[in-house]
């Protein structure tokens, strides 16, 4: 059971943490203003020069392999709905790590999404 708890934490913390690092990179790179292919490639290269981006890739990879490992230990019907919690974790990370203003209204929306995703995933079994 201890392994399962560690894996669940890794799925949420590393998976969502990786996305938060990508978001942190884009905060540093700045808003894209030119959407032509050459400008997009320059934007991607600028992002790849940022350390947060590589940490993001690393964490997302850890999250992905933790999910695969968890799926080999537990039923999909248990594992997948738990991933709905990552929406709550993401909003918390946005507030603490990215200093985003997560208002009560946004929290309410995030909680509804968590609940909805959980129901969709439970309902398909």
């Amino acid at each position: 059971m201890k392994n399962e708890i560690i894996l669940l934490l890794l799925i949420m913390v590393a998976g969502t943490g990786g996305e938060l690092c990508v978001a942190r990179t884009m905060q540093a790179v700045g808003p894209a203003t030119d959407l032509r292919p050459a400008a997009l490639i320059r934007l991607i290269l600028r992002a790849l020069r940022n350390g947060w981006m590589w940490l993001g890739f690393l964490l997302m990879t850890v999250g992905f392999f933790s999910l695969l490992e968890m799926l080999s230990l537990e039923n999909v019907s248990f594992v997948v709905p738990v991933t709905a919690l990552s929406y709550g974790f993401g909003a918390l990370g946005g507030k603490v790590f990215l200093r985003e203003q997560v208002t009560r209204k946004r929290w309410a929306g995030v909680l509804l999404v968590c609940l909805g995703v959980g129901l969709v995933l439970i309902g398909q079994r």
Partner: protein, 139 residues
């Protein structure tokens, strides 16, 4: 702070691109991998054969292209909007998969799943009524 009220259509458009291309890329990769099957062995010859099949599969390339376009759209959206705005908004993908499954593939969608779809849409609507960007450029 850059106010984003002027260009919200870009955010909505690219979230829709993410919602469509992310699941599509995964489905194509899954389909391609099922066609190829597992590697015949982890020795050099087996791996070489597997990689040759992988690189020769149009479905795999299409899946990778979709996922690359998805990630580019994701990066662009995050350059304009908060993560805590984009992440729940992209959950529309779950609703989209249920709707497409029901109307295009004739899949049975249980009442619990429909309730989930409705609650996701409601949640996304609530998040959509908050300002997309609340932080400043940190460059």
């Amino acid at each position: 702070m850059q106010t984003f009220a002027r260009v919200p259509w870009k955010v909505y458009l690219l979230i829709m691109v993410m919602v469509i291309l992310g699941p599509l890329g995964n489905v194509l990769l899954g389909k391609g991998m099922k066609r190829i099957g597992v590697a015949s062995g982890w020795n050099q010859a087996g791996l070489l054969h597997f990689l040759t099949q992988l690189s020769g599969s149009g479905v795999i390339w299409l899946g990778l292209l979709c996922l690359m376009a998805f990630f580019t759209a994701y990066m662009l959206v995050l350059s304009w909007a908060d993560y805590s705005y984009v992440q729940p908004a992209s959950a529309v993908a779950y609703a989209m998969v249920a709707l497409l499954g029901h109307f295009l593939l004739g899949e049975v969608v249980t009442p619990v799943r429909w309730a989930g779809v409705l609650i996701i849409c409601l949640g996304v609507l609530v998040v959509g009524h908050t300002p997309p960007r609340t932080t400043e450029f940190r460059g």
